[in-house]
Structure formats: C-alpha cells, structure tokens
Subunit: 303 residues, 2 copies
C-alpha cells in the first residue's frame, strides 16, 4: 500500500463558550505502523457528539478532557488497510473510539467489526452504535415505558432522540418530540411517526404547546437538552414520572452553572424519579442492546 500523508485534527486551545474553528488545527501526523495484534485503519466516518464539548474543557467529568496539542478523538468508522491481528483482515469495516486522523492504528480489542451487509455502515455510529445504545438503555432502563404512557423527547431529531422516539413508539407510547426547526418537526411526524412535534423556537407559549401535545400529562421525559425547555416539561409531569437525563446540550457552552426553577419540589409532590446516566455504564449489556436494535432495524421498525 502506498503510504500517503497522515493528517490529524488537533486541539490548540480550549474554547470558552462556543467552540470555534480557531480552537482546532489540521496538522500533519506521523504515519502509524501497526505492531503485533494491531490494525491500520483508514478513517471513513467521524461521529460528532455533544459530549465532546465537555472534553474540550479542563473540567473533571465522566471522560478525561482532550489534551491541548494532541488530536481529539471520538467514534469512528474505518476500513482496515493492514492487519497484524488474527481477528481482522484488510477490507474489514470496523468501528471504535479513535483519534480524528486520516489513518490510525488500534489494538484489535479496541475496535469491532461492522457487518456491511446488514445495514448501512454508518448505523454503527448511529442506531446500531453508541447513540442507539444510549437511547435503548436510557429509555428502557430508566424510563421504563408502559403502553399508553406519554413520552416527551427533547432534542428529538438528534442522533439519540430519533431512536428514543422510535423505541417509545414500538413500546406503544404517545410520543411528543421537541426540536428546533419545522423541517425537523415534519421529519419526526412523517418519517418517525411521533404523535406530536413542537418547534420550540416558534411555538410561542411552550407551556401551552407541551400541555396541548400531552393531554394526559408527561409520564416520561427523555432529556437531551436541559434548560428552559426542561423547565416547561417538568411543570407537566405526572405522578411517578421518570425523567431520563441523557444530555444537557443547552448548558454545555455556558461558562458558569445555570440556574433555574428547583426541580425537587416537583419531584416530591409527583413522587417522580430523575436519573442521569452514561451509556458506558451499560457496557456489559451492549450485545443485548445491539441485537435488539438490529432486529428492529431489519423488521423496519427502526430507521
């Protein structure tokens, strides 16, 4: 194989507030040589995920911060160019958590094979990857949806949200999606079959909009967003409601902690549960999740 030039996207400074292109630089990187048990991978797809904003800050969180001067990393789909591992051969499509560079080397156990015959390979970074698993475990393990219950999803048109909406549908729930454009709302309604979609940017009185979309109140709130949208939804929760804290994207770019109405009195009066989670907590059960998601996908229940 001809050895091309390797390039990497490096963090050059930590963003304050919104991340900007100037915080990053595309630089030439050393050509990686696979050793025994390793594979050389050509990057095909990168996953851009909200949690990565957290890693750009020097704050203690559930994953270590990116290091200034080094390549950032995330979910990647790539093609094996050269294998020194018995588990892979050239041409295999694989996915794993890798650096953002054109060519990477990884240990065999760091990546897993993607079956290109089963579904588009990009699903390995979506419905059949971390975002699908996040939706699956968050909704089913914390939300525990029952038929007939109302599930509200914020960030509904996002990678996690779209899968949450569809699983809630499969479970026989009334599904209400919140998104930020009319196009996303149309997509939620026509393609994903949600019962109501709310464009929070144009809805005007959000409280009224959510109340109308949820005539029997909110049993499960799958929250990807946080902030004011969540305040509105929280005001409409039912007794024994479950609030799944998956993401708080509205807050990630804030320089100091945001304040809002306290949720504790609501949780008390409604005997409600609110729980944060990180998909990796469920790592021992990923195979179960992927199998179920794949089954729904092949049966056309999941897009």
């Amino acid at each position: 194989m001809e050895k091309g030039t390797n390039k990497a996207i490096v963090l050059v400074s930590r963003p304050s507030g919104m991340a900007a292109a100037s915080n990053f630089k595309l630089v030439e990187a050393p050509w990686p040589e696979p050793k025994e048990g390793e594979v050389l991978i050509k990057t095909l797809y990168l996953s851009v995920d909200p949690y990565m904003r957290g890693r750009m800050s020097d704050r203690k969180s559930y994953v270590a911060p990116f290091v200034v001067g080094e390549a950032i990393a995330g979910g990647v789909i790539g093609e094996v160019l050269e294998s020194q591992s018995g588990a892979f051969r050239a041409g295999d499509i694989v996915t794993g958590h890798l650096k953002w560079q054109l060519y990477s080397v990884a240990k065999g156990e760091q990546v897993r094979k993607v079956d290109a015959g089963l579904a588009p390979i990009t699903t390995a970074l979506g419905a059949l990857g971390m975002t699908g698993l996040t939706a699956y475990f968050g909704l089913l393990e914390i939300g525990r949806p029952m038929p007939g219950e109302t599930v509200v999803v914020s960030g509904a048109a996002g990678a996690v949200g779209t899968v949450v909406c569809q699983i809630a549908n499969i479970k026989g729930c009334r599904v209400v999606g919140i998104a930020g454009t009319d196009e996303k709302c149309r997509y939620l309604m026509s393609e994903l079959g949600v019962n109501a979609a709310i464009n929070y940017k144009t809805a005007g009185d959000m409280r009224q909009a959510v109340a109308e979309a949820c005539p029997t109140g909110v049993d499960i709130y799958f929250d990807n967003v946080g902030g004011g949208i969540s305040d509105t939804v929280m005001a409409l929760i039912n007794r024994e409601a479950r609030i799944v804290i998956c993401g708080q994207i509205s807050l990630y770019n804030l320089e100091k902690a945001d304040t809002g109405p306290r949720v504790q009195p609501l949780l008390l009066v409604k005997r409600a549960l609110m729980k944060g989670f990180i998909v990796s907590d469920y790592a021992p059960r990923f195979a179960e999740g992927i199998n179920q998601l794949r089954q729904w996908l092949t049966h056309g229940k999941l897009k």
Copy 2:
C-alpha cells in the same frame, strides 16, 4: 360519660408566606356521636408536620388542601371513650388521621390500636408512626445504603431526620447530620451517634464544612430541607449517588417557586438518582416497616 364541650381548630384564612395564629381560630364544635362501627375518641396528642403547610394553600398537591371554615386535620393519638366497633373498647389508645378537635368520631378502619406497653404512646406519631415509616422507606427503598457509604441528612434533628440518622447508623454508614442549632448538633452527636453534625447557621463556608465532614464524598443525601443547603450537598455527590427528596421545608413558605443551580448536569455526570416520595406510597408495607422499627426500638438501636 358526661358530655363536655367540643372544640376544634379551624382554618379561617389561607396564609401567604409564614402561617400565623390569625389564620386559625379555636371554635366550639358539635358533639360527635359514634354510629355503628365507629368510635368516639378523646384527642391526647396532635402531630404538627411540615407537609401541613402545603395543605393550608389552595394548591394542587399530593393531599387535598384544608377547607377554609373547617377544622384542620393531621396525625392524632387519642383514647377511645366509647366504641360501637367490635375492634375497640373504651380505654384503648389509638392513632389515625383525625381532625384537630378535642373529641372526634372515626370509623374503626380509620384508626389503629397503639400498644402502650411496648413504647411511650407518643412514638405512634414518631419513630413508630408516619415519621418513622417515612425515614424507613425513604432511606432503605430509595437511598439503599451500603456499609461504609456516607449519608448526609438535612433537617437531621427533626422527626424524620433523627430516625434516618439512626437507620443509616444501623446500616453501617458514615452519617453526617445538618441542623440549625448547636444544641441539635450536640444531640445528634452524643445521643444519636452521628459521625459529624453541621450547624448550617454558624458553619460559615458550608461547602467546606460538608466536604470536611464527608472526606469520601456523599453517597446518599436524605433531603428534608431543600434550598441552599441542598445546593451545597449536591456539589459533593459521588458517582451513582442517591438523593432522597423527602421534604423541602425551606421552600414551603415561599410565595413563588424558588430558583437555584440546575441539578440535571450533576445528576448526568455522576449518573445519580433523585427521587421524591410520599410515605403513603408504601402503605401496603407499613406493617413490615413498623415491625422492623419496633424491633430496633426494643433492642435499643433506635431512640
């Protein structure tokens, strides 16, 4: 039996902010006559509980508001003066949710007998009553304490808090109580055996005080109080922490919803659980709770 005058404490107006004596009036009430299956009860003790403030407002909550012009009600211990029920006889000590009046009539199934030989009868409104059961189910079912974990209790010297501290002790936890006077703190330390007690009114830097009292962080926060104290404790929770929302007394007299730092980002990063509960949710298991509490009481593990 000579029929005395009956008197009742009636709500004459709904308080705004702190409740005042002027919101209530002691009035003469009709003499109650027990019918078939009923008992006539002379009130001995009344329980004054924080949740009653909520019932004085005309707000939808988990119990119906008190009615203006009618007697308020709550936990009562009384003596049966006359019984038209086969389950009781004159002289029995009973407890139940009754009106605040000198003499009441109740159906037999509305009250339960208190064994005066077992423990002081007032425990039926305390450790062996609703407050004990609240501590028991809240801490054990939501908090799920494990030996060696750190449990922080706000309102620690209160009716619920004192039992929570003791059960956490029994379960082998490090127990940190927060209270509002040095006397209460001394009581918590010397009588209830908590590991550290913090007077939030004199501690100065509460963040530092809680951090010092919890060198390995906070695994369980049993919250009776809410507000700023909770903000401080929340900032120190560990991964997989459980926050039991039992009361929010610091907020009950506020006229509008309080704001504070949002807890969702903390719950997310720490994968923590926050749950509100009302003791009556566990009514089917009250006998189990009372039996266990009584056992601890007779073995001197609970005061």
